[in-house]
């Protein structure tokens, strides 16, 4: 055996911990990606949806006759057609119970409107025609007879006794009332506290605006009775099961395929009304049916994010020790709970507010309401950024009110590393983290001490400079099973099969690094399969920053199983006893000898028909199911400096420093990219993104002419550093990083804005801190 052929040259370059470039970039940058709309299915018809133009009303009738007789029209479907074909209700996402034990009141929601329309954009009918232009023309000819009802868009207004009611089955518009914690204990702590800081927050609604609009193509094979649905998603396995359930078909009769996805942020994770409609149309027409959202339509049909009004209160003793924390308020889930979700306004407020601080007790009491607005789904962080925003604004405000240095106040209350594992007031058990050290490093890297000089320089130019600190901690998704499949293919490649899904994160490189490190297979030979439901035995999908924990560890465990099998086969091939065979850096070796066989060579021998005894495994392939990793607690410290122009109210982010504890970094470059993206998204919500509805429920910020997404020029240069405390709760020691940027950015940016305005007597500004809002605040209005 030639030792040279064993390992492979330059393996260290692809090891865990290296900044391996994303393998998909050359493909995507050349325009060779395969997004859903890029697929060309011969004979496909085109669907266009007819949507309500009023926010609330009784659906008196839908006249489709004119549309049906238009050129090229193949079908016009309404809710009645779906019901006739056995399509059921869309999923009900809220599984929480009310304090009295009764279940949440998820309204019944069919894919197309029945009885009433409930938001501008509510799909009422779908037109299918030979071309997209024909479908559009015919969609215009569908007339909807609606008796308009008063609308309610604001979550607090939805709670008013005389508020318009959306559903008979959702009295008071309340989907669920949620309580956590020892309310009486918290009340007692507040009653005897030396100081209470209280702030009311509007957590502004944002439009997700993924670069790639949603798109789907349905087809049906009458011969085997199987459907195929090609669409952007966050994981095909769960989506297949959910869509199949809505369709009333066995899951194995649906194949769900996802190719490249251009961003999702949570938005593409739910079963939207369009998908069952397309499947029904494909079965009825016997040809593929395709649909791609248009941008203006996306503003009305994709779930939005955030949208809550919360009051947060912190009780402190005379020295500034935190005694208790309370959050009360209301979250908006939009018009229904198929896309609308409760987690950001309920359990994720609990898990993500108390943060890095020793705080003995906390209580949360919130309501989740329906309104006549686009449903509000999970959006990058889904409660994590909000919770951290509430807490870090409270801490800064408490420091100012009590005359304590904000850094000293944080240090006084931080959980210390020697106290790990720490059970927080949220009930979450933090496994690791060095919060004091992270804070120190952030202060140093951001030149915290140099702020005063920079502030003076800004003042000389007539500008108000502010500095904002935010130390965040978030809980990533709870454990759920994930697949780690490893296949040695006939062409000499190694396929990794897993059920998370990349929609911009760069999974192929990161997962390849895990496998290459654990198994010694050449990185270049590794292929990632993630978007084919037929190839998965389980799959949790991407969400809650879980992919590195779920798929990373699944692949690492699968690699160990491959090695177990390999040792047995290698022992036979090397004519040695199993106990004498060791595995090291890609090769099976007879201990103490130079007899060895590389793993790729062993796979090749198996393919070539190595004649194995019956009791040995026939391949090295593994379909492993990882039981799941507990939530991790990524944390870090953001320091932001802004300049405010008092004449115009314009805010510019000038400096940005972040020090993150994401545990072990599989690929530092990808992680830093996630931090950058999350921070810029946070800056967008904090300063620019203003989703304005009028009182009738029309979305005024309904296009990019009015809805301001941050551009590159709006983002500062971000100084990133890693200060890892490896997670003790999963084998790889990784922590989630996908949402953390938002969690630190909202409070850091807003603390900086308020700090800039503090000299003018300002105590709080709500997001988004647009020029108009800042100017008004300074003008005292």
């Amino acid at each position: 055996m030639d030792i040279e052929t064993v390992g492979h040259a330059g393996a260290e370059r692809f090891a865990m911990g290296q900044s391996v470039p994303r393998t998909e970039d050359p493909v995507l940058l050349r325009g060779e990606g395969r997004y859903t709309d890029d697929l060309d299915l011969p004979g496909a018809a085109h669907a266009v949806f007819v949507r309500s133009r009023v926010a609330h009303g009784i659906l008196r009738g839908i006249d489709t006759d004119a549309a049906r007789s238009m050129p090229g029209v193949l079908a016009v479907l309404t809710a009645a057609d779906l019901a006739a074909d056995g399509v059921g209700l869309l999923p009900k996402t809220v599984s929480l119970a009310n304090p009295d034990g009764s279940p949440a009141r998820n309204p019944d929601r069919a894919a197309l409107a029945t009885g009433r329309v409930r938001w501008v954009g509510d799909p009422v009918a779908v037109v299918i025609a030979g071309t997209a232009a024909e479908a559009r023309d015919a969609a215009e000819a569908v007339t909807i007879d609606v008796e308009t009802l008063p609308a309610v868009v604001d979550p607090e207004a939805a709670l008013a006794p005389d508020a318009p009611q959306l559903y008979d089955a959702v009295p008071g518009n309340v989907v669920v009332e949620y309580r956590y914690g020892d309310a009486a204990g918290v009340e007692a702590a507040f009653a005897s506290a030396h100081h209470v800081t209280r702030l009311r927050f509007v957590n502004n609604r944002v439009v997700v605006a993924a670069m790639e609009p949603r798109a789907a193509i349905a087809s049906y094979n009458a011969d085997d009775g199987r459907f195929t649905l090609r669409m952007g998603s966050q994981g095909v396995f769960g989506m297949r099961n959910s869509v199949a359930k809505v369709m009333g078909i066995p899951p194995e009769t649906l194949r769900l395929l996802t190719g490249n996805v251009g961003g999702s942020f949570g938005m593409k994770s739910t079963v939207y009304p369009e998908y069952p409609c397309l499947l029904v149309a494909a079965r009825r027409l016997g040809r593929p049916v395709r649909w791609t959202d248009e941008r203006t339509e996306s503003f009305l049909s994709d779930s939005h994010g955030r949208d809550a009004v919360m009051t947060a209160e912190l009780a402190l003793d005379p020295e500034g020790r935190f005694l208790a924390l309370r959050v009360t308020g209301v979250g908006n889930c939009g018009a229904h709970t198929a896309q609308g979700v409760a987690i950001p306004h309920t359990s994720n407020v609990v898990k993500n507010t108390v943060g890095v601080y020793r705080t003995p007790v906390m209580a949360v009491h919130t309501r989740v309401v329906v309104t006549n607005t686009v449903p509000v789904g999970a959006y990058r962080g889904a409660g994590r950024p909000e919770g951290n925003y509430y807490m870090e604004r409270l801490v800064q405000t408490a420091a100012a009110e009590m005359g304590i240095d904000p850094v000293a106040l944080r240090r006084l209350n931080q959980v210390r590393p020697e106290e790990m594992p720490w059970t927080a007031a949220s009930g979450q058990v933090y496994d690791s983290g060095d919060f004091p050290a992270v804070l120190s490093e952030a202060l140093e890297r951001s030149d915290w001490d140099g702020f005063a000089a920079r502030k003076a320089a800004s003042a000389a130019r007539g500008l108000l400079r502010g500095c904002g600190l935010a130390q965040y901690l978030e809980a990533t998704a709870p454990p759920s099973p994930e697949m780690g499949g490893v296949r040695f293919e006939a062409d000499g490649t190694v396929t990794v099969v897993t059920g998370t899904l990349d929609y911009g994160q760069g999974h192929a490189a990161a997962f390849g690094q895990v496998l290459s490190t654990r198994l010694g297979v050449p990185f270049e030979r590794i292929r990632l399969v993630q978007g084919d439901s037929d190839r998965l035995v389980v799959g949790g999908g991407t969400g809650g920053s879980r992919s590195a924990m779920a798929s990373g560890n699944a692949i690492a465990e699968a690699a160990a199983k491959v090695i177990e099998k390999g040792i047995r086969i290698a022992a036979f091939a090397l004519e040695a006893a199993e106990v004498d065979v060791e595995f090291d850096r890609g090769a099976f070796r007879v201990a103490g000898t130079d007899r060895a066989i590389g793993i790729m060579e062993l796979a090749g021998r198996l393919r070539d028909g190595l004649d194995l005894p019956d009791d040995l495994p026939a391949t090295l392939d593994v379909d492993h199911v990882f039981s799941g990793a507990p939530s991790t607690f990524p944390n870090g410290c953001h320091v932001c400096e802004v300049e405010v122009d008092p004449d115009t109210g314009a805010v510019r982010v000038d400096r940005y420093t972040v020090v993150d504890d994401f545990g072990v970094l599989i690929n530092p470059m990808l992680v830093e990219g996630q931090a950058h993206g999350g921070i810029v998204q946070g800056i967008g919500q904090a300063l620019m993104e203003h989703t304005v509805y009028d009182a009738e429920g029309q979305l005024l910020a309904g296009s990019f002419m009015d809805y301001a997404l941050p551009r590159a020029a709006d983002a500062p240069s971000i100084a990133f550093a890693s200060h890892p405390s490896p997670a003790r709760s999963n084998p790889l020691g990784v922590k989630g990083c996908g949402e953390a940027g938002c969690s630190g950015a909202l409070p850091a940016v807003m603390n900086a804005v308020v700090d800039a305005l503090a000299e003018r007597g300002v105590r709080h500004v709500d997001m988004p801190a647009t020029p108009l809002r800042i100017w008004r605040t300074l003008a005292g209005g």
């Binding site: 203006t296 910020a701 002419m705 809805y707 997404l709 020029p771």
Partner: protein, 264 residues
């Protein structure tokens, strides 16, 4: 978009003839406003007459001491033009800050002023610099050209051929951008020619207007401080989700001062 017939004539006379024949003809310059309107099905022309191949509408030149810009000059052309930079640098600067690079590479000066968007930048320059708008049949003075929101003195089918700007001693534009669209929330163009000062404000009201109090104050004292004592009434100013009328009134002052500072 509804279907229409597309034409690309090579001369002004052919364009006029096509327009005359069409049931409902529409001129197209850079298409930056027109195409989105068509895509949203807000207009339904039978014929689209693309002005892009007409040589007579192109070019930027100095003529008799004035700057003459062809109607089809794109914003990027104006921004990069040595003639413009030499004669009225503030105008090149204005063009360089319209929208984004894609918009500047298609949008034209003729299309912009024909459209008379209340938030467009060029109208302020036309008025402050006291330019004349040349059309196929006449010349129109700046003060008479913009008649209201999306309204101009142009008659049905009247094609703008060029805009003639007298040279100014000092001229500059200051704009507060809409963070989403980058149009002007408020833009102020100030120009001094001989003893005369003109101040034109865009974005603030339904149409571009001259701020005569500022003109008087700056004629007496050409400095940003001259604006300090003035006040702008919010009555009649635009209000939208980005800016209330009183905020716009504030920006009129702030941007005018900044324009004076920039003009030097």
């Amino acid at each position: 978009m509804y279907s229409f017939d597309y034409h690309k004539p090579a001369s002004l006379s052919d364009a006029a003839a096509l327009l005359g024949k069409a049931e409902e003809g529409k001129l197209m310059a850079g298409g930056q406003t027109l195409i989105p309107t068509l895509k949203q099905r807000l207009a339904r022309p039978t014929d689209l007459i693309d002005l892009g191949a007409i040589a007579e509408l192109k070019g930027i030149k100095e003529e008799g001491g004035a700057l003459v810009i062809g109607a089809m000059a794109r914003h990027a052309d104006v921004a990069a033009s040595d003639v413009v930079k030499r004669m009225i640098p503030g105008l090149a600067d204005l063009a360089d800050n319209i929208g984004d690079a894609q918009v500047r590479n298609r949008g034209t000066i003729g299309g912009s002023i024909a459209n008379s968007d209340p938030a467009a930048d060029y109208p302020s320059a036309i008025v402050a610099l006291n330019a004349t708008v040349h059309t196929v049949k006449r010349t129109i003075a700046a003060d008479a050209f913009f008649t209201g929101m999306f309204e101009t003195a142009l008659e049905e089918g009247e094609i703008i051929t060029a805009i003639r700007f007298p040279r100014a001693e000092k001229a500059a534009y200051a704009k507060f951008r809409n963070p989403a669209s980058r149009y002007a929330v408020v833009g102020a163009f100030v120009a001094r020619t001989g003893g005369s000062v003109r101040v034109a404000i865009t974005g603030a009201a339904p149409s571009v207007f001259r701020w005569t109090e500022a003109e008087a104050a700056l004629s007496a004292n050409w400095s940003a401080a001259a604006i300090d004592g003035l006040s702008v009434k919010a009555d009649g100013l635009n209000a939208d989700i980005h800016a209330s009328a009183d905020y716009r009134a504030n920006l009129v002052k702030v941007m005018t001062k900044r324009a004076v500072l920039a003009a030097g």
